[in-house]
Structure formats: structure tokens, C-alpha cells
């Protein structure tokens, strides 16, 4: 089976007059279809750069990024990108905010619009079509932002710390919401976060990045009993804390070799 997304030996540097900053070095990994992958790492490890590369906004200096076997380019329709903040535009209503992507891609026809309305209905925004974003709660705003991304029917979702701007309580429930939406629609997703417990609670697999230049330091496959996927419920299992501790060790020890379980999983 070919993976949904394949990253092979990618390097990326930023160039300024002061010099060159290596952001990512020799990154290789893959994501299978329907998989929920989390990428964790300290701030400044090039997480956002990685997502920009995956979505085709940036072009790698070295290496290849293949999406369904073809190289990604700016504006490929199969990749949806959810930014850190919701960026709902205050001068638009909720409905015209979530159909922004359709407008930009000239797909704002009745058929697509009714799909968007269905999404709004099923995620609790039915009575907010004509509301302005400032009337929504933090969780509703994130859902609206997700619907805006889903409206373009992407196969792969890139989530750049989408919960980091929320307060802790909202954050837990929105994370639960969003991940159940993604899983029920069988989307492939890559979530970037610096919150280890969020990663353990949501992911099927976790990649650990080191700080600048970002390299992949370890990998952890997450499996809960009964194939539990709800982030809130996962937090009640004893496996939750053991996975957390493993992750902690991978991040803490610079030369992590044999941290728990199968050493093959650590590259």
C-alpha cells in the first residue's frame, strides 16, 4: 500500500542578509491513509515550516514530498491546512467565512454551498449562518474554521496547533470535538502541537522533532485498549501516563536509544 503522504530527506533553511538558519534537516516519514499523526517538539523546531512544506506553500531545498505519489505544489486540492488561530474574517458572516475557500477556488455553487450548510448543521452551528464571528464562542470558532477547511474536501488535514489559543477547558473539549469529526470522516490528519498530553490523547502515532535544526528524534505508536480514539476517554486509561512518560523520555534524553517497547520504532 502506498502511503498517503511520503516525505523523503527534506531540508529547509531560511535566508536573511545576516545569514542562513537551518530549520529542518533530513526529515523523512510517511503517513498512511486514515492515520492520525501527531508531531511534537519544542518551540522553534520548525514545526510550522514543516506544515508549510507539506501544504506546498514552501518548496523544499532538498528531498521530496509525495502526496498520493505525486509531488505537492501550492494550491493542490487534496491538502487542507488549519492555521493556529481561526482567522475568521469579522466583516463576513459565519456562512460566508466557511465558504471562503469555495469562493477562492470558484466552486461557490449551490451544490457545494448545501454541503457546507450540512456541515454547519451537524456541528452545532445551524442557527449561526448569518452571525458574525465575534458572536461565537472559542469552540464554535474552531469548529467553523475546521468546516472552512473541510469544505474543500481535502484527503489530508494539516492542523497547526489549532487549540493553542483556547483556554484549557475549552481546549480539551474542542480537541475531542475536532478529532472525532476528523475520525468519523476518515480523514488523514497531521496535528502539530507542543502539548504532549494532547498528542497522546489524539494520535495513532507520534513523531518527535528536536529543536533547530529540526530532525526526527523518535517515533511512538499509540494504541489504546478497545481501539479507543476519543481524546477525553483516553485520558482515563493507565496507558495514557505510560505513553506520556515514554514521550517525555524521548524528549528529555538527547541520545535516546532504547526507550520502552520496540526499539525498531525509534529511528
Amino acid at each position: 500500500m502506498t502511503p498517503k503522504l511520503e516525505v523523503k530527506g527534506v531540508d529547509y533553511s531560511y535566508h536573511t542578509l545576516e545569514g542562513e538558519t537551518k530549520a529542518l534537516s533530513d526529515i523523512s516519514f510517511h503517513v498512511n491513509s486514515g492515520e492520525f499523526l501527531c508531531i511534537v517538539g519544542p518551540s522553534g523546531c520548525g514545526k510550522s515550516t514543516l506544515l508549510s512544506l507539506l501544504s506546498g506553500l514552501l518548496v523544499p531545498e532538498k528531498g521530496k514530498i509525495l502526496f498520493d505519489g505525486t509531488p505537492v505544489a501550492r494550491g493542490v486540492s487534496g491538502v487542507g491546512y488549519m492555521l493556529q488561530r481561526d482567522h475568521l474574517l469579522e466583516w463576513r458572516t459565519v456562512l460566508s467565512n466557511v465558504s471562503l475557500g469555495l469562493e477562492v477556488r470558484r466552486k461557490c455553487d449551490p451544490e457545494h454551498l448545501s454541503r457546507v450548510k450540512e456541515l454547519l448543521d451537524s456541528y452545532g452551528l445551524r442557527s449561526f449562518y448569518d452571525a458574525h464571528p465575534s458572536e461565537l464562542s472559542g469552540g464554535m470558532r474552531q469548529r467553523a474554521a475546521l468546516i472552512r477547511t473541510l469544505a474543500l474536501e481535502p484527503d489530508l488535514l494539516l492542523l497547526d496547533e489549532p487549540f493553542s489559543a483556547l483556554d484549557y477547558q475549552t481546549r480539551l473539549s474542542v480537541c475531542d470535538d475536532i478529532s472525532s469529526i476528523i475520525r468519523s470522516r476518515r480523514k488523514t490528519a497531521i496535528l502539530i502541537t507542543h502539548d504532549l498530553s494532547e498528542a497522546v490523547s489524539a494520535a495513532d502515532r507520534i513523531l518527535v522533532l528536536t529543536s533547530r535544526p529540526g530532525t526526527i528524534k523518535g517515533e511512538l505508536v499509540i494504541q489504546f485498549p478497545n481501539h479507543e480514539t476519543s481524546p477525553l476517554k483516553r485520558r482515563n486509561y493507565s496507558e495514557f501516563s505510560s505513553y506520556f512518560n515514554e514521550l517525555w523520555k524521548i524528549l528529555g534524553n538527547r541520545d535516546a536509544v532504547n526507550v520502552g517497547g520496540d526499539p525498531d520504532e525509534i529511528s
Binding site: 501544504s55 506553500l57 501550492r74 494550491g75 493542490v76 486540492s77 487542507g80 491546512y81 492555521l83 493556529q84 488561530r85 482567522h87 474574517l89 469579522e90 466583516w91 463576513r92 471562503l100 475557500g101 469562493e103 477562492v104 477556488r105 458574525h132 472552512r148 474543500l152
Partner: protein, 290 residues
């Protein structure tokens, strides 16, 4: 610094407007007594402010008139409220004053719309080519800080003794600042909102139509408020030099023939006119404001 001032100006203005426009709700049985006391006090303060404003104007006119009547002020030079009024009434009788006012308003509005249009177009042009912006930047800054009244005599020679000169003078006063302010406004847009358009598969054109222009509406309107005043300045400069009609013409003509009543009256009308034009844009702002 140029880009910052109009925005602050905009904020302060809307703040003041907002404070003044906020309607005090009528007393209601559901209000607590403390709330009623607060509303009553707020009402009293507003009455006092309004009273003091009127009083200030009345006292000013009163002492001006009395001073002129008693000979403390030379009313040949300083005129007086009654002389200004009678001058206005005599010119209103044969309608000449409305003709002059009409000319000035027409010229101001015409140059104002042109400045607004050229300002937005120029800012979009600069934004769409960073290289063009870099190349033109020093020239725009220089033209913006040049005292435009220095251009007026040249304009007369080039364009002739007519309305073209006046409107060109008015545009030259406001247009460079307008372009720079809007361009800097475009540049200070949230880069993540622009990224959003790219992540949705949009092009640069979509960034312009979906983010920059709608997001700049408050800035464009606050810039219009500055422009309407500057256009009036430009029109008066132009009329000083080359006009057969208009309030600027009346001021220059009046001072040359020592009819100071005419000069003072024209200045008073200009005061009122500029306030009305400014308020007209402010009303537009309220309509568009959210």
C-alpha cells in the same frame, strides 16, 4: 511615522464620536436606583458640556460685537458679527454667495473623489509590485513632504488660469499622503490572514479582494476624513492664485479691495463648510462601521 498618525486620529475620533453619540436610555422601572443616579449624573454632565459650548460661542460673538460698537476694535479691520451677517444677507439676496460656495464645494468634492480613487489605485499598484514600491518610495516620501503651495504658481503656468489648476492643486495636497497611508495599511495586515488565503488555494488577486480591501475599509474611511480637509486646503490655495469664483477668490478679492467683512464672512462660511464635509464622511463611517 506618517502611516501611524491617521490611524490614531481615526481611533481617537471614533472614540470621541462614540462617546458623544451613545444614547442615554430613558429611565426605566427595571433600573436600580444606583443605575438611575448614574444616568442622571451622566445627563447632567452632558447638559453642562452643551451649555458651556453654546455659552462660549455666544460670549465670543457678544464681546466681538460690543468691542466693535464701542470702538475698542476697529471694525474696518476686524469687522463685527452684525457686519458679517449683513454682508451675508446682501450677498444671499442676489444669490452670489451661493454661487461662490457652490464652486468651492464642487471643486472640493471633485478632487476628493479623485484623490480617494487615485489613493486606493496607487496603493494597490505599489502593493502588487514590491519592486515598484521600493523604486518609488523615496520620490513619494519627498513629494508628500513638499509644501504643495510651492507647486501652485507652476501649475497656473502649465494648466492655465482655470479650474483644472485648482483641482490639480487640491489633488496634489492630499494624494501622496493618501497613497502612502493606504499602502502602509496594506503592509500591516495580519500576515496569517494572507496565509489563510494561500492555504485555501487562493492567488495574490484573492488576497487583495478577500483580505486587503475589505480589511482596509476602516483605514480607507479614516483616510477619507483626512483627505476631505486637505482637499479643501488645496482648493483654497488654488483659488487664491487662479480663480474668478469661490470662497478662496472672495477672501483674496476682499483683502485686495479692503472689504474685510467679505473676507471674514468667507472664513466663517469655510469653517462651517469644513465641519459639514467632515461630518458627512463621519456619517459614512458610522454607516459602514460595525
Amino acid at each position: 511615522m506618517l502611516e501611524v498618525i491617521p490611524m490614531k486620529f481615526h481611533n481617537v475620533t471614533s472614540f470621541i464620536l462614540h462617546r458623544h453619540r451613545a444614547v442615554i436610555p430613558a429611565a426605566d422601572l427595571t433600573f436600580s436606583s444606583a443605575q438611575c443616579r448614574y444616568l442622571e449624573q451622566e445627563r447632567r454632565i452632558r447638559r453642562q458640556i452643551f451649555f458651556c459650548r453654546v455659552l462660549f460661542l455666544v460670549l465670543f460673538l457678544f464681546f466681538w460685537e460690543i468691542g466693535a460698537r464701542l470702538g475698542i476694535l476697529n471694525d474696518f479691520i476686524f469687522s463685527s458679527p452684525s457686519r458679517v451677517l449683513s454682508c451675508f444677507l446682501s450677498m444671499a439676496a442676489d444669490r452670489t454667495i451661493f454661487y461662490h460656495m457652490g464652486i468651492t464645494i464642487l471643486e472640493t468634492l471633485f478632487s476628493f473623489f479623485l484623490v480617494t480613487g487615485i489613493g486606493i489605485f496607487g496603493a494597490v499598484a505599489l502593493w502588487s509590485s514590491r519592486r515598484l514600491a521600493k523604486i518609488l518610495e523615496p520620490y513619494l516620501v519627498m513629494l508628500n513632504s513638499l509644501p504643495k503651495s510651492a507647486l501652485a504658481p507652476v501649475l497656473i503656468v502649465w494648466l492655465g488660469n482655470n479650474m483644472k489648476t485648482i483641482i490639480t492643486a487640491a489633488i496634489s495636497v492630499a494624494v501622496f499622503g493618501s497613497i502612502l497611508t493606504l499602502y502602509n495599511g496594506f503592509l500591516s495586515m495580519d500576515p496569517d490572514q494572507i496565509r489563510l488565503i494561500y492555504t485555501l488555494g487562493g492567488k495574490r488577486k484573492d488576497v487583495l479582494t478577500k483580505i486587503l480591501l475589505p480589511g482596509s475599509v476602516p483605514l480607507i474611511i479614516s483616510n477619507m476624513k483626512v483627505n476631505i480637509g486637505l482637499c479643501l486646503v488645496g482648493v483654497i490655495i488654488g483659488e487664491f492664485l487662479s480663480a474668478q469664483a469661490g470662497l478662496g477668490f472672495l477672501i483674496i478679492y476682499g483683502s485686495q479691495v479692503f472689504k474685510l467683512d467679505l473676507v471674514i464672512m468667507s472664513i466663517v462660511i469655510l469653517c462651517i463648510l469644513s465641519a459639514i464635509l467632515y461630518q458627512a464622511v463621519a456619517v459614512l463611517e458610522k454607516r459602514c462601521g460595525r
